[in-house]
Amino acid sequence: MAERGDLMTRLDEAGQALVDREVDRRGFLKCASWVGAGTIWTVSGGLVAACGTALSGQGAGSATSTPSGLYFVQISDSHIGFQGTANPDVLGSFSKAIADVNALPQRPAFVIHTGDLTHTSTAEQFNTVKDLLGTLKTPKVVVVPGEHDTVMGPKPYLDVFGAGSQGDGWSSFDMGGIHFLLLNNVVDVVNLGHLGTAQLEFIEKDVANLRSDTPIVVFAHIPMWTIYEKWGWGTDDAAQALSYLKRFASVTVLNGHIHQVMSKVEGNITFSTVSTTAYPLPAPGTAPAPAPVTLPAGKLADILGIREVRYRGAGRGFRLTDDHVS
């Protein structure tokens, strides 16, 4: 009970806690829920997962219970090409994640992969990822690069995934009344993420003519809020980029990179990182370096995840639902 009490105390301190309740999911997961800036998270068994909330009044697996509103899926950090004890079969776990997406009750409008598609940016790794992403049952797949995708520069990534993007791989699109920004914040990274002048100018111009009530969703690999600077878990020029988004009522920034679910609400902006399909990294500051963690046998699947995202309508924000890879 101590851990639960500690959790709720912290949530209360943050002024965000609304409700927690026990919800059995797949017979073994329990949940707590809270909201912030119009976003609902549901937390379960170490991953944020689908469960009922006081606000929605829906039960487990509620993704299909709200048919209206744009619905998409986020996956991240597949690290195809990684070889190590933390996950000897990243190809297999990525394939399982894709199978899980394809088995969702509702077909997503699109799937976003938020980077580190590959581990060391080889053409073979990129082509493998492209082929697997091509098996997703969705009309649209979009990606942003991670630092593992630009190990020797952006060209190998752009050769495979650069179509329709600008500069080193940034772009935007509109769907369902929502404006989406696809950013590359691994430009010349030497520690923290970095967007660079050209991309910042793109962002400023890209949103200049949008109405302030347009929901904005930003995709980038490295978190755009500083989680742990020593490990490079932040973006050094994110503040400049976010300053262009201050006038919008709802901004949601979805990242990968840290291989764990972590969220923050700041004013009109909701930040959240998603889990990985490859291997865990330590919690911030709990290890000498953010090196891959080898879990006890049979435990890896507990931390691998995919995320469902549903727009709940004007003034209601998004619902993020993180599920284990089966």
Partner: protein
């Protein structure tokens, strides 16, 4: 018990933050394996396969060490800062399970991804301070200080 697996770390910047539970945190063990390939270097750089060698003597991150050998182990360059004379060829030996690069921050030299047991060399001709990092793991940093001779 409800939320028996859930742990909430220190709140970041005084705002709401939650993270997934990691059942076991810590670095993965670095295990030696047979070299699987070599990497091509720049014009003045080469990469070769060698057997792993013991890590260099540990030193404080900011304390320069006069040596021409740097180990890459446990996701760190060691010694972090070295001093050499002009014309010195520095050798980096990769001992980690995961791959790493040796990449100058200014782009003046870089290795390809190095697998376990491989080395990378670069010859420094001009005095100056050369900061470098691993482009696969950008939190890994090192510095080569080339003295005036």
């Amino acid at each position: 018990m409800v939320l028996a697996h859930l742990r909430l770390p220190a709140l970041v910047a005084g705002t709401l933050a939650a993270t997934a539970t990691l059942a076991a945190c810590g670095t993965s063990a670095s295990t030696a394996s047979s070299p699987a390939g070599s990497a091509a270097g720049a014009s003045s750089s080469t990469s070769t396969m060698t057997m792993p060698v013991p890590a260099s003597t540990a030193s404080a991150p900011s304390a320069p060490v006069a040596t021409d050998h740097v180990s890459i182990a446990a996701f760190a360059f060691g010694p972090t800062t070295i001093t050499v004379k002009p014309g010195t060829t520095v050798t980096w030996t990769q001992q980690d399970e995961d791959q790493h690069t040796v990449t100058a921050n200014d782009g003046s030299f870089t290795s390809s991804p190095l697998v376990t047991g491989t080395t990378y060399t670069h010859t420094f001709t001009a005095p100056g301070t050369y900061a470098y990092h691993c482009s696969i793991h950008p939190f890994m940093h090192g510095t080569v200080v080339v003295t005036n001779g």
